[in-house]
Symmetry: C2
Subunit: 464 residues, 2 copies
């Protein structure tokens, strides 16, 4: 059998696999949890670690960009072809909170390899999927014999994605000239499953808020006062119950304003995927589907907006009982948004809705986190086709198209830089993002490396 560029890449990647996994494990040991202030130092350490590793990879420019929050990492490697297009890779180096007692089989920040998987917080979301670009670009150079990539390559790896990217848009606006690109590759999504390679064409947006509700100035005796004063835990529960109607549509006035309804063609694309609801439920670790009437499960998670309770708390939650009217309650709500929805309009709608419903005698405070806009890539864009071709060379299968139910700041890059956003991800639904025992399939991770080794050539041709 003759050597093809694809087999040369494969051999190169195999040869460097062990060192690559060791390095990734080292990075996963840094608990870069951006939502927890006690980990601020770890988030910075994570940025410094990555910056050093990119320099070692060969990027001639590596910088740490400070923000009012957590630092981002920027790296740049100009092409040896001055006429080459510019591509910006986006990812994040911060991770979700994780604690052993949440149900992890092993320490979330002490990665282990079991059965061809690497377990650890950030293995898939998003350190693993950022890190495959390091070996990927070296494989690209090795197989092409170049000394610099076929595209002007830039990386922007932020540190606040898991906190809603509060400073990301400002950072992109401020550094727009340095970040200018002909296309953006978002390296923070996934594909259909282990055997169905896909390219994602869009992500949902996200608006989030915390609603604090205050009743009595302290917990009071439910026998002496119960039934005669308003209970903030009851008020919290009633807000949640009022978020949806009997069809599980979101009942907040104005919520659906501007929603781009699915076309028949888009529904047909969804239907091409080998969707197995029982298997999906197992991945979701759930025991029934539920949701907005008139929509399939895939439509619900990819193309419909939602209102979700991420947390609720109030009163006594310890062992036994405590007969009180609690002094306060808290709700953590999030809203997934689809193309056509405006986060600011959603926030105004939620604010008005909550204000109208909180009863007399209960004070409330609503705090919104920074929102993320939804985004969608045109299916006929040449860069999207180039991504699909690069994946096709590695996966040997027809590449299908999906969307992503999650959210990322991709839309900000699209808005500010005026560049199309493409998604390249090798994570699979069973990877357990935001959950205990998050992992990445090492076989797919290495295919991600190979895909990026081909991608720069494909994109250079497509965007020329």
């Amino acid at each position: 059998m003759s050597e093809t560029p694809d087999s040369v890449v494969r051999t190169y990647v195999e040869q460097h696999r062990a060192a690559f996994l060791d390095d990734l494990a080292e990075w996963l040991r840094i608990p870069s949890v951006s939502a927890q202030p006690e980990h601020d130092g770890d988030v910075r350490r994570s940025a410094e670690w990555l910056s050093g590793k990119l320099k070692e990879t060969g990027f001639p420019v590596t910088e740490i960009w400070d923000t009012p929050g957590a630092p981002a990492v920027f790296a740049e490697w100009p092409s040896d072809d001055p006429g080459a297009p510019t591509v910006l890779v986006y990812g994040h180096h911060d991770v979700q909170p994780a604690a052993r007692e949440d149900g992890w089989a092993t320490d979330p920040f002490e990665p282990v390899i079991r059965d061809g998987r690497m377990y650890g917080r950030g293995a898939a979301d998003d350190k693993g999927q950022v890190f495959f670009h390091t070996l990927g670009v070296r494989a690209h150079l090795a197989v092409t014999g170049r000394t610099a990539p076929a595209v002007h390559l830039k990386l922007l790896i932020e540190g606040e994605e898991e906190s809603g990217s509060p400073h990301f848009r400002a950072l992109v606006e401020e550094r727009a000239a340095r970040l200018a690109a002909d296309a953006v590759i978002v390296s923070d999504t996934g594909m259909w499953d282990e055997t169905t390679p896909t390219v994602c064409t869009g992500m949902r947006g996200l608006a989030e808020c915390e609603i604090e509700l205050y009743g009595p100035d302290q917990d009071i005796h439910s026998g002496s006062f119960g039934g005669a004063v308003p209970n903030p835990a009851t008020a919290a529960a009633r807000l949640v119950a009022a978020m949806h109607d009997a069809d599980e549509r979101v009942a907040i006035p104005g919520f659906y304003d501007g929603v781009a309804e699915l076309t028949d063609a888009e529904r047909a694309l969804f239907a091409e995927l080998p969707f197995d609801e029982a298997a999906w439920l197992r991945t979701a670790r759930s025991h029934a589907t539920a949701g907005e009437a008139g929509h399939t499960t895939l439509e619900r998670v990819w193309a419909r907006p939602t209102a979700e309770v991420n947390g609720i708390g109030g009163g006594y939650q310890g062992p036994g009982s405590k007969t009180i009217v609690p002094s306060s309650a808290v709700l953590k709500l999030s809203f997934r948004l689809v193309a056509g929805q405006d986060p600011e309009h959603i926030e105004r709608s939620v604010l008005r809705w909550a204000e109208d419903r909180v009863p007399a005698g209960i004070r409330h405070r609503i705090t919104f986190s920074a929102a993320t806009r939804p985004c969608l890539t045109p299916l006929d864009h040449p860069a999207l086709q180039a991504v699909a071709r690069a994946m096709g060379r590695v996966f040997d299968r027809k590449i299908l198209f999906t969307r992503e139910g999650g959210s990322g700041p991709a839309a900000d890059l699209q808005d500010v830089l005026g560049a199309p956003v493409l998604f390249l991800g090798i994570s699979v639904p069973s990877d357990g993002w935001h959950a205990p025992d998050e992992k990445v399939e090492i076989g797919l991770l290495m295919k991600g490396v190979e895909t990026t080794a081909h991608l720069w050539g494909e994109l250079a041709a497509a965007l020329r």
Copy 2:
């Protein structure tokens, strides 16, 4: 001015006040929290301390009665008049959970005296109101010159009242012969306020449950799965929201079966009390009244049944946000019951109601704590009039009649022993039962001592 029995009692009590308060403070230092297993040893220590103090007081019989849960204290002092009636005093030596960080100005288990009040968990509920019987019976002997009380006096001070008295009824049934009495004095309630002495004529009953709701087997990503699987926090909130109708009546089918509606005479008795809604709200530390349509605040807390959320919890409650569909949620609910309601019927009704409402894909478990029956004393009972007379000698005011919104195992004593139940309490609404900074007014505590010094003579005459 000649010396009267009342002034002799007053002088005797004044002389022993300092030692009495020192002893009470010593007892309050024992954190006898029956709901928290780590305090099991403290509950036992509390029983032993009380038993020793009752022996020191002069009770010839003091015993610790073990139960499958926390121990009770029994004491007996036969009258020197063989034909005297028998009176059983009921109280409890266990206390509600308390922690400095709940908002206490000082350590809840390190009592302090400020401005004529003793602060500490259990100061009013119920150690203070048990403890006034020790000095009270000594004053009774001192003023009458007797060597034993005018009634056969028994005390039963249980250790599980704040946990719903799960073993109390069995204990009373098992020891019914030792506990036999012509009247029961419940020493675990309060009076109208600092200047309006009252006798309580009834207490509400209590049914309690915890509802656990389980959705996904672990927390899952709200972007990937949200909107397409049922959320247990949402299910919990919807249960709470469905507990009441738009008139704030409890909407659980069967809940009002058998409820004794207030008569016009009872409403008139309530109206004799100097009720000041603004002051009541301040005591309730609340900012509005609320509750069942068609009823006054007093009617709501004394004579109407309620459904209350004591605690709700599910998902992420820490700082920042976490975009998950939570794996589980929990509700702690309590139901105050009035005369005519049967706790077992209420439990069956709640069970059926919850089962009907929990959605597919959510598993649930309902655990009921031991229930307490409601009770009501006939207004024309001679023993009730004797209690009012004893209070009248100390307070120099017309004694009015109230009810108590809280709950106690008084009804079990009434049921098993076949004896009328009377309530003697000197606590006031501002004492902060179950709340941070619980206290007792020392002036009223000493009037409680004086009242019990008169009570045994009054009851001996009334019940003969």
